[in-house]
Amino acid sequence: MTRDQLLGAYRRLRLLREFEERTRVEFQTGQIAGFTHLYAGMEAIAVGVCEHLTDDDKIISTHRGHGHCLAKGCDPIAMMKELWGSTEGLCRGKGGTMHIADFSRGMLGANAVVGAGAPIAVGAALASSIMDASWVAVSFVGDGGTNIGSVYEAMNLAVVLRLPKIFVIEDNGWGEMTPIDNVAGNRDLAGRAAAMGMPAVSVDGVDFFAVHAAAGVAVSRARSGEGPSTIVASAPRFYGHHEGDPQLYRSREDVAELRRREDCLPRFIDRVSTSGELTSAELSVVDEEIALLMDSAVEQSKAAPRPTAENVLQDVYVRYR
């Protein structure tokens, strides 16, 4: 990767992290309504994959979707306004935290039904194939989603039709509050995907460079018409299933230890500093820039226009009567 690319990747990693940290604070003040699921800890997965994608490529995300949206290029200010429920939000306040989309960026929606995005992303890949287009489609699904039947229906169909599709399984070890170890008959999630008839690899999702390398292979395979593949990336979830989750199932010490050992940001900084590719001064500039951006996003969201009752009736259909 060039220095510019590395700096861009760092900017996005930092943006994803700070967006979630700030969302958490604002959620606690009661500014943000709804079930909010934070992506903190898993940033290297979304960024590692999306660095290979253009606005033409399509992704579908999960209930824990802020990171994927930002990695795909959604405007953080319009996203924050969406969390606030403003008419200036990306979805005019109709979607909220679990349904952020920006079709102009190829972000076809975060999806609040576990696993449901996989078949829809297969459709986006099918469209690419029918139209002889060059875009690929990526679905992000959590480890919990590997126990949903429609994910395997989607994998099988993508293999049968040889579609430009990448299945990214984000293994944070928890399906809501239940450890994946307790609910996976076969804990080898990549093996389960491979059994559907496609290449599937497991990578360390804390290591941006590992994800980036695996995604590069999968994306170029998809673009060149060789069909789908699966990447299983494991990374910790720093916060609860949702904001307000008391996390009775794990101790504060365990979480603190995860943060110490398994944080993609220090890991990234370490690597680029040791190699001398980026200086700490350059990284600090990015950090300050992102901090200001978050302040601005929150300030603008607080002042953004609110929807009114008439908005309830809009955009159900293109045309009904």
């Binding site: 399509k58 579908i60 939000g89 990306l90 979805c91 005019r92 306040g93 109709k94 979607g95 349904h99 989309a101 920006d102 079709f103 102009s104 076809l108 929606g109 999806n111 039904v113 449901a116 996989a118 078949p119 829809i120 992303a121 297969v122 459709g123 986006a124 890949a125 099918l126 469209a127 690419s128 194939s129 029918i130 139209m131 489609a137 039947g149 429609s150 229906e153 989607a154 099988n156 169909l157 049968v160 039709l161 809009q314 955009d315 159900v316 259909y317 293109v318 045309r319 009904y320 009567r321």
Partner: protein, 334 residues
């Protein structure tokens, strides 16, 4: 104009739209065909509705899938979000239960929850209803359930002419359309023009007109209602409006309310079970908006609150029929 079956009328509609719009494609189980030893073998749909499409357009536009309803609907909706015009086939309406999430949580909601930034112009075709002794899991109607979901449009043709025009409208429509084909009507014939034509949604047909009683019916119940109306007219001189809304969503409320304003009497007929269905819906509409036009209680004719039974005698007893509609009209006139 030639006499055609509903099966052939639907097939023509698909051929017209495939030829007119390269974005249209068909996806489902057994809809196309496959190659055996380099020779194409056509399936053309379990009921023959997609006959000839695979041969003409190949597997890029006529896509046979695994038996994976959630993947079929997801694939169709994802392609629709990317600018194509998918027609997905689910063999029996009952099987939408397998992909209910993809229809009601996904397709029905995309435009709304994403703030109007997308459209999802997908058509989901499926067979519906009883009369073929197919038993409890292959005979349900399911259109009442989908009518209750904002974001979906719902079509139930009752004859070959309407089926062709409504399917063409459905494929050209910008919104998701659930298209229910009453399987017993596939072989029923009427005059159907050879050329393409479209029938607007939300405009009821009135196959019989009369001033005494309004009958509103859906799908194959329209035909039973027409038989009942003809019999009543012949034997008793009773004249009925028979209204076929054709699209439960959007519903042509005006035609129903105007007719009830004239007759003061309403019978609603559908082969679905009685609770939370279209008969209850139309009855509620009229009770709410036209109570003072009514001269008698509203009567409904439905299946009982049971699953659809299989044996001939049982299914015959289960489904509404002209005799029961005549009895309901007589009660409404009492």
């Amino acid at each position: 104009m030639t006499i055609k079956s509903m099966r052939d009328a639907l097939n023509e509609a698909l051929h017209h739209e495939f030829a007119r719009d390269p974005r249209v494609f068909l996806i489902g189980e057994d809809v196309g065909g496959f190659e055996k030893d380099g020779v194409p073998v056509e399936i053309g749909g379990v009921f023959g509705v997609s006959k000839g499409l695979y041969r003409q357009y190949g597997r890029k536009r006529v896509i046979d899938t695994p038996i994976s309803e959630a993947a079929i609907i997801g694939a169709a909706s994802g392609a629709a979000l990317c600018g194509l015009r998918p027609v997905a086939e689910i063999m029996f309406a009952d099987l939408t239960a397998v992909c209910f999430d993809q229809i009601v949580n996904q397709i029905a909601k995309f435009r709304y929850m994403f703030g109007g930034q997308c459209a999802c112009p997908v058509v989901i075709r499926m067979t519906t209803g009883g009369g073929r002794n197919a038993g409890a899991q292959h005979s349900q109607t399911f259109y009442p359930i989908f009518t209750s979901f904002p974001g979906l449009k719902v079509v139930v043709p009752s004859n070959a002419y309407d089926a062709k025009g409504l399917l063409i409208t459905a494929i050209r429509d910008e919104d998701p359309v659930l298209f229910f084909e009453p399987k017993v009507l596939y072989t029923e014939k009427c005059d159907v023009p050879d050329e393409a034509y479209s029938i607007p949604f939300g405009e009821a047909a009135m196959p019989r007109e009369g001033e005494d009683v309004t009958i509103v019916a859906f799908g194959q119940a329209v035909n039973w209602s027409v038989q009942a109306a003809d019999e009543l007219r012949k034997s008793r001189g009773i004249r009925c409006d028979v209204i076929d809304p054709r699209t439960p969503s959007p519903l042509d409320e005006e035609t129903i309310l105007e007719s009830v304003a004239a007759t003061g009497r309403l019978v609603v007929v559908d082969e679905s079970p009685p609770r939370c269905g279209l008969t209850a819906d139309i009855a509620a509409l009229v009770a709410d908006k036209a109570f003072h036009d009514l001269k008698a209680p509203i009567k409904t004719v439905t299946a009982p609150h049971t699953p659809v039974p299989q044996a001939r005698e049982l299914e015959r007893a289960y489904l509404p029929n002209p005799r029961r509609i005549i009895a309901a009209v007589e009660e409404a006139l009492r």
